[in-house]
């Protein structure tokens, strides 16, 4: 049982760090926000494993859920503005 929990903890730790790295390095805002939401949900699991259910609830509801929704809306606005005024910079990788 404890070996299973240890495996879960290890998997969670690696996934959280990997997702954090992917979120920071992603250039496309919308994809970065989606990765951030996934990161927040896993982080909520980490808090639950640390026996902090209050923080886990807040992270899942506010950090990942509503924070993610707000940032998705912001990313959408940023894209609209960028398309309205094309910048001299070369277009970033496709995938919108």
């Amino acid at each position: 049982m404890s070996a299973l929990l240890l495996a879960l903890d290890g998997l969670l730790s690696i996934s959280v760090v990997a997702l954090a790295w992917a979120t920071v390095t992603r250039r496309e805002p919308r994809q970065a926000v989606i990765l951030f939401i996934a990161f927040g949900l896993l982080l909520a699991l980490v808090w639950a494993r640390l026996r902090a259910p209050d923080v886990a609830l807040a992270e899942a509801a506010i950090g990942a859920g509503l924070g993610g929704a707000l940032m998705l809306a912001a990313a959408r606005r940023a894209l609209i503005q960028r398309d309205a005024a094309p910048s001299p910079a070369p277009p970033e990788e496709a995938g919108r």
Binding site: P53, D54, A56, L57, A58, A61, I62, G65, L66, A69, L70, A73, A74, R76, R77
Partner: protein, 226 residues
């Protein structure tokens, strides 16, 4: 560009060292009475049995009041920046039926979260987040106002948390207690009143923040694009 990246890297390194030092200190420091034990012994005096709520709404109520003020400042900033973004097109029949199911559930879950915060994980912020999520769901389904009241009432709702919180504190001062120092027999009800007001405020603030600005009174809500 290279210099900027180097500067950012240096700042992050410094921050990491400070964090690592704090982390190390927290575990290797003197093993005296920590705050956790102190809180555990004083929870019966707080009017609630959930230690987290006891800290947030009683022992450190001041911090929570300031958090609500931060949210209030944030929404004022969002309103100052500009108009709300244009809404989405009205949803189809299936999504509308689903929304009609989900939104009441979210509201009930929010009320439950608020009440359960007294003795188990939960509380005003989580409950407010659920109410805000109901607003976001409505907005995504094409309701332009996201279920929020007209602006005059919305302003009152958004300020309600800070207002009630401060009024409670000042009233307690007038009665001869300290600012936000609850007498034991009133503590539970004061916390419940403050948390209810805070929940409504947080829910309205988060939903209003999702609109991305002040609702345009001339916008009829039929999906006008800018």
């Amino acid at each position: 560009m290279k210099r900027r990246e180097a500067a950012i890297t240096a700042l992050v390194l410094v921050l990491s060292v400070v964090l690592a030092w704090a982390f190390w200190n927290a575990f290797s420091g003197p093993t005296g009475d920590r705050l956790a034990e102190l809180t555990a012994t004083r929870v019966p005096e707080s009017g609630v049995t959930n230690p987290v709520t006891a800290v947030l709404l009683n022992f450190r109520a001041y911090d929570t009041l300031l958090e609500l003020a931060v949210l209030l400042a944030a929404i004022l900033g969002i309103w100052a920046v500009g108009k709300a973004s244009p809404g989405f097109l009205p949803a189809g029949a299936v999504l509308r039926a689903l929304v009609g199911l989900i939104v009441p559930l979210l509201i009930i879950a929010g009320g439950y979260m608020l009440w359960v915060g007294g003795h188990a994980p939960g509380g005003a912020f989580q409950a407010g987040a659920l109410l805000g999520a109901a607003g976001v769901t409505l907005r995504l389904a094409g309701y332009p106002a996201a279920g929020l009241p007209p602006e005059a009432l919305l302003r009152v709702t958004i300020g309600l948390g800070v207002l009630i919180f401060t009024l409670c504190g000042v009233a307690l001062m007038a009665l001869g207690y300290g600012f936000l120092t609850y007498p034991l027999d009133l503590a539970k009800w004061l916390i419940l009143v403050i948390e209810t007001a805070a929940t409504l405020s947080i829910g309205a603030t988060l939903a209003a923040a999702y609109l991305g600005g002040r609702a345009d009174p001339t916008d009829s809500g039929d999906g006008v694009t800018r």
